[in-house]
Amino acid sequence: MPSHAVSKPIHSRPAVSDERLIAQLSVQHADFVLQLALDVPARGVTAIFGRSGSGKTTALRAIAGLHRPASARIAIGSELWQDDAKGIFVPVHQRALGYVFQEASLFAHLDVRANMAYGMKRVPAALRRVSWEQAVDWLGVGALLDRKPDQLSGGERQRVAIARALLTSPRLLLMDEPLAALDALSKEAILPYLERLHRELDIPVLYVSHAIDEVARLADHIVLLDAGQVMAAGPLQEVLTRLDLQTAFSDDMGAVIDAEVIERDEAYSLSRIAFPGGDLLVGGLERPIGTAVRARLLARDVSIAVDVPGASSILNVLPATVLEIGDAGADKVNVRLLLQAAGQGEALKNNAVLISRITRRSRDLLALQVGQHVFAQVKSVALLT
């Protein structure tokens, strides 16, 4: 088993880079047009989210250069990969990228070790920033090295494929629904590895997915794609709480918060987690104090009280201000709430917004108005870590 000692980030670049990933491209098939204008930070995980057929994979393949769009400008930081205005097209094998396909696509004629070494030995030693030991440890593939791909489970194959891509020390890691072909159990088993990469690895990731739970768990930024068009793009917390995107997210609408464990109550088996919007008591979280956790507070799990609620079974009640009210079907509305603990800092606000979905009738009974002070009652917190 690999050790789980905390590794340092592998780059010596400053922790927060200002570099951006820019992809402006248009792809035309017979009855499909993809128009993409992407400008996202070249750090962290950016999810490209959308239904099947929305053009996610096409976009990723075009960014990688596996498919050459008629006209495009693709750049990461100062590196230009394609710019038809200047007649530049860098072939795939000359781009410092890693690509993880939906199905693992390991080379069947090579064992795991040779698969992982394939890309690494094609990168000059001076440019390698991910070591063999790091990749083996991060993805926990140490025990698999002498096996052939057909002796691996689906999840193991995908871990090897990710390790193989990382060993080329890419400037950008592209992942095309890497978990879509896995069953629920394998998926659960592999997600912690991806989260660990996210925490410890300073390589920007473009992560294509149609599963909102994966996106909520892994992404920092999200690009919402629909029928070949970008519907929304921005920080995950901001986009997932935009009321105008109700049709895109429907029941998945809700806040995602990044919090930290600050207290353990062993007697009741509860943990207190803190985030810019306040504290929450959650059960079923056996993590030491100081651990970073991510949680989803779905709109349908948040209700609103106008007065301080009296005796109630609900553990988490947070004072908030109504920011916005939007329709959510014939009988319901979404209410966007800013938690009062957040203070005034702009940066904190993204992490202190909740959405509450209530009936239209309740809205009228409570006479909810923008600017009103209310209490958000959180019925359930879905822990993502």
Binding site: A64, L66, P91, V92, H93, Q94, L97, G98, Y99, F101, S105, F107, A108, H109, Y118, G119, R122, V123, K148, D150, R164, A165, T168
Partner: protein, 225 residues
């Protein structure tokens, strides 16, 4: 065994012809098969049909046209003469030329199938792992297509061993130069030398059977790739 020196020479000539033909075919058949497997050109159908022609044509038809084409008055013949090579009909080189065309589909088609079965994905993966086009071909496509190459080589060899009509048309019946096994058997039968014919024909039957047996048991094996 009452086989003459000439009989053994025809056996040797047949093996030499087949081995040489397979080598030439693997060299020129691989790029053709690769192109056929990957192209979207409209020429794909035309080239594919031309390659497959020997499957349906009587060998004598192919041999007849080759004879005309490579003869002193043919375009090919004039070209070889201009190059100082003389004319190819009734020479061993001419036999190799004809055999290459005649056995082409038996080499190209297994290779094309193998390349198509591999598909684009492993090549895309290799490209994303920094392998250039030649590197991808050598390090990924060739090893993955290995069963196809074995099938192609065995079928190409065996089919060349078994040809008769084309050899007779373009090579004639010259001992030590163009008289291959099948022609030799024909001569023995014509001369009512059934004993020698039996030895050679029986040997060929056994050879063909063993070749196919190896091929089929190779393919029946569970693949580890």
């Amino acid at each position: 065994m009452n086989l003459s020196e000439l009989d053994l020479s025809s056996v040797w000539l047949t093996l030499k012809l087949s081995a040489l033909t397979v080598c030439v075919l693997l060299l020129i058949g691989t790029p053709i098969a690769w192109w056929l497997a990957h192209t979207r050109s409209r020429l794909k159908g035309v080239i594919g049909a031309v390659v497959a022609l020997p499957l349906v044509l009587p060998p004598t038809v192919l041999g007849f046209y080759l004879l005309v084409f490579l003869g002193p008055q043919g375009i090919g013949g004039k070209l070889t003469q201009a190059l100082g090579l003389g004319t190819l009909p009734f020479t061993f080189t001419g036999l190799v030329f004809g055999s290459v065309l005649y056995s082409m589909p038996f080499v190209v088609q297994p290779l094309q199938n193998a390349f198509e079965a591999i598909g684009q994905r492993p090549l895309e993966v290799a490209a994303s792992l920094r392998a250039g086009p030649w590197d991808r071909f050598l390090s990924v496509a060739l090893p993955l297509a290995r069963p196809g190459f074995i099938t192609a080589a065995v079928l190409g060899f065996a089919h060349t061993v078994g040809e008769f009509g084309l050899v007779l048309m373009i090579g004639g019946n010259i001992p030590n130069r163009t008289r291959v096994l099948s022609v030799d058997i024909y001569n023995h039968v014509e001369a009512l030398e059934y004993a020698q014919a039996h030895w050679l024909a029986g040997g060929m039957l056994l050879f063909s059977f063993i070749v196919l047996l190896i091929l089929y048991s190779f393919h029946a094996k569970p693949r580890s790739f």
